[in-house]
Structures are given as C-alpha cells and as structure tokens.
C-alpha cells in the first residue's frame, strides 16, 4: 500500500493509502478535515475544491498519491486562529451562503481567483465560478462577497 506524505495547512501529514484513494478521501477520512465537501463526485460541482501547490483543484478528481510531496490548503487552513480569512469574512458579511454546502469550495476557488486577478470584473468572477455550483442559486451574494473581498472591504 503506497504511503503518501504531504503538507496540509502547513503541517506534515502522511498515511497509507490505496492507489485508488482520492485526495478528498484522504483529507476527510484519514485526516478528518471534513470542511472539504463531496457534492457530485463527478468533477462538476466544485464543493471539493482545495489548493494543491497554490492552485485550485477538484480534490474528488485527483488521487491522494498524485498529491504526494505537495502542499495542500483546505478551508480549515485559511483562518488565522479566530480571525477569518478576508474571503471568509466577506462571505460572512455579505450572506454569501444559504445552505452552506458549496461554501468551502466557493471560498477556495474565490481565493485562487484573487491570487491571479486582484480586481476581477463581475463577468470575470462569474466565468471563474464556472466550476462551482450552488444548488440554492445564491450566486448574487457570492459574487458580491468576492467583489467586496477584492476591494478590501471585508473586516
């Protein structure tokens, strides 16, 4: 059984996995980091988005062994202690969630967008969120929150 070692949210994590173990399974079931969700399991919905080496990916469509040696950031790794990440704060302040299931993936995807483009237009935000689905259809406030985070309006 392959052993994988990766840095998850700044800490080294390792474990024995099967070749077929998905990265999201390793995060949720081995490391008990259940903030990363599985929505569709078919690469469509984006609830499982995490960062691997700084880039947003769908962790349901990546094997744990593919992330061996990588640096992974999950939703649990964004806040500093009790202080929310500016994107989390912006989602909170703008009520950018309804049921909240898609939120971890939305936040991780949005953080990656601002890494690439610090002042995206509304169109660019909506195009970027192509791979993140909100079944509550709460996109309006999600887009607003990302605009506020980009403008530095979040607390």
């Amino acid at each position: 059984m392959p052993e994988v070692t990766m840095t998850v949210n700044g800490q080294e994590a390792s474990g024995d996995v099967e070749g077929r173990t998905l990265l999201v399974q390793f995060l949720r079931e081995h490391l008990r980091l259940t903030g990363t969700h599985v929505g569709c399991d078919t690469s469509q919905c984006g609830a499982c988005v995490v960062h691997v080496n700084g880039q947003s990916v769908k962790s349901c469509t990546m094997l744990a062994v593919q992330a061996d040696g990588s640096a992974v950031t999950t939703i649990e790794g964004l806040a500093s202690g009790n202080e929310l990440h500016p994107m989390q704060a912006a989602f909170h302040e703008n009520h950018a969630l309804q049921c909240g299931f898609c939120t971890p993936g939305m936040v991780m995807s949005a953080v990656d967008l601002l890494q690439k483009n610090s002042s995206p237009s509304e169109t660019e935000i909506r195009e970027w969120l192509e791979g993140n689905l909100c079944r509550c259809t709460g996109y309006k406030n999600i887009v607003k929150a990302i605009q506020h985070a980009a403008a530095g309006d979040a607390a």
Partner: protein, 265 residues
C-alpha cells in the same frame, strides 16, 4: 473504483518499463477523464502509469515557424502562455475555454489528444492548425492521428510526448458550448495557413473532421460573408437531446463565420 498499482516514472524510459511490466496498464496525464472513468468502472486497469513527473513532457517552446507544446502542459499553462498568446492566440483562447478553471489546472493537451473525445476542443485545434503529434515512437500528422470517437493512431503503450503547431497566418476557434459541461456542441477552428485554409469541426460528428466545402469557399476570399454552408452529411452528424443533426450542421456554418471574423479582427 477498483484498486490498481500506481507508478510515477521520472522518464519516458521508466514509463515504458512500467507499461511493459504491467498486465493491463493505462497511462494517466491530468486524469480528468481517466479518474471519472475509473470511478464509473468504465476503465479497470491493473496499473496506472502517471506521467506527471516526467520533465521532458512539459513546457512550451518556440521552434521558429512552429510552437512545440509538451504533452503534460496543462490547459491553463497554454491559455496563459505569453508565447502562445503572441504566436497563436487562437490556441490560447481554445485552451482557456476548456471546462472550468480547476479542470484547466489539471487537464493536459497530451491527455486530451490521446483521449480524442468527439466533443473535445483540442482535436479541432490540432487538425485545424495542421499540427503534428509527437509520440514516444514517431511523429503523426493530425489529419492521420484522430479516428472516430476515442480512437486514435496510437498503439498500445505509445506515449504522446508533444504537439507541434505551425504558426498560421490567421486563425480563430469558435465554440457553441454545452452550457453544463462546456464541451463543444459544435466547435470550429479556422486557419489561414501557408498550405491554404483549413476548417476543422469538433462536437458535431463522431470525431473531428475537416469541412472541405467551407475550406473551398474561403480559398479566394477569407471573409465571413464568403463562408458557405457546411458540406457535412447530416447522417454523419450527432443528433441528441442537446441538438439535432440539422441544427448542428447549421451551427458549423455559424461558428465558421464567427471564427473567420475573429481571425480577421
């Protein structure tokens, strides 16, 4: 998903050895078609040979009158490459329209080409631009590489290493995407090259094809007004819940006009 042996070779030599040593191996590039297929048990290989650590398969280089793109180069890297944007902007645009950002971070040109999904974008890019597919064994013209749906000229264990694209005079890709999957309902690459006009169509049929009627119509005047209707036989086009064959045939002409307009802009 059934379990499998996992291999991450560091060179093509090691990859060939891993393939030769397995009973029923499969090559993995970005994994964004393979992993979903494994989950559905549509593929049940004994071993997965992951090509992600092979440096010789990565990167984009300027080869004078062509760009050579390594097989493991991601769609995002092609879309954001200054070199591709300046030499073949149509190709950067095509890569930037595949799937969604997270898919583009993992999916690769080599994987897309080897998979030959009949609605994928890269096959139209390769055939439309007259590309050459480089493999671990030989070089194959795109016109000879892509067969009907999911079929290619690749032999068992043969690894796509790079794709070289001659720099066209003008080119553009226009796609009518499925709004859910972003795959092409119809996608058309139009290129004005030193060998004449090439028009390649994806999504409409059972694999990428050249629309010779539209190519001929553009031979004298490369303008949107000159674009003729598609020469495709409706019996050869897809008809499904997304679009009838008749509608797809119409869309080929519309997308070709849009591509010519964009290429001339």
């Amino acid at each position: 998903m059934y379990d499998f042996g996992y291999h991450r070779p560091n060179s093509l030599t090691e990859a060939n050895a891993a393939v030769d040593g397995a009973t029923d191996p499969v090559l993995m590039a970005g994994g964004h078609t393979l992993i979903p297929a494994l989950k559905l048990r549509l593929a049940q290989p004994s071993d997965v040979v992951d090509l992600c650590a092979i440096d010789e398969l990565k990167g984009i280089r300027d080869d004078g009158d062509a760009l050579v793109i390594g097989a493991m180069t991601t769609h995002c890297e092609v879309a954001e490459s200054d070199l591709v944007m300046s030499r073949i902007p149509a190709l950067a645009s095509l890569a930037g329209g595949i799937g969604d950002p997270q898919v583009r971070h993992r999916g690769t040109i080599g994987g897309s080409v080897a998979n030959n999904d009949p609605a994928a974008d890269y096959p139209a890019g390769c055939v439309g631009l007259g590309a050459t597919i480089h493999t671990s064994k030989r070089q194959i013209a795109a016109d000879d590489f892509f067969g009907p749906s999911f079929d290619t000229a690749l032999e068992d264990g043969e690894i796509v290493t790079a794709v070289s694209f001659p720099v066209p005079g003008k080119a553009a890709y226009a796609k009518f995407p499925n709004p859910a999957s972003r795959y092409a309902i119809v996608g058309v690459m139009v290129a004005k090259t030193s060998d004449g006009v090439r028009v390649a169509v994806t999504g409409a049929g059972h694999g990428v094809f050249r629309d010779t009627a539209i190519e001929l119509s553009l031979a004298d005047a490369f303008t949107a007004d000159a674009v003729a209707g598609s020469g495709a036989d409706e019996d050869d086009l897809n008809s499904d819940i997304h679009a009838s064959a008749e509608y797809r045939k119409h869309l080929i002409g519309v997308m070709a006009k849009r591509a010519v307009t964009a290429a001339s802009g």
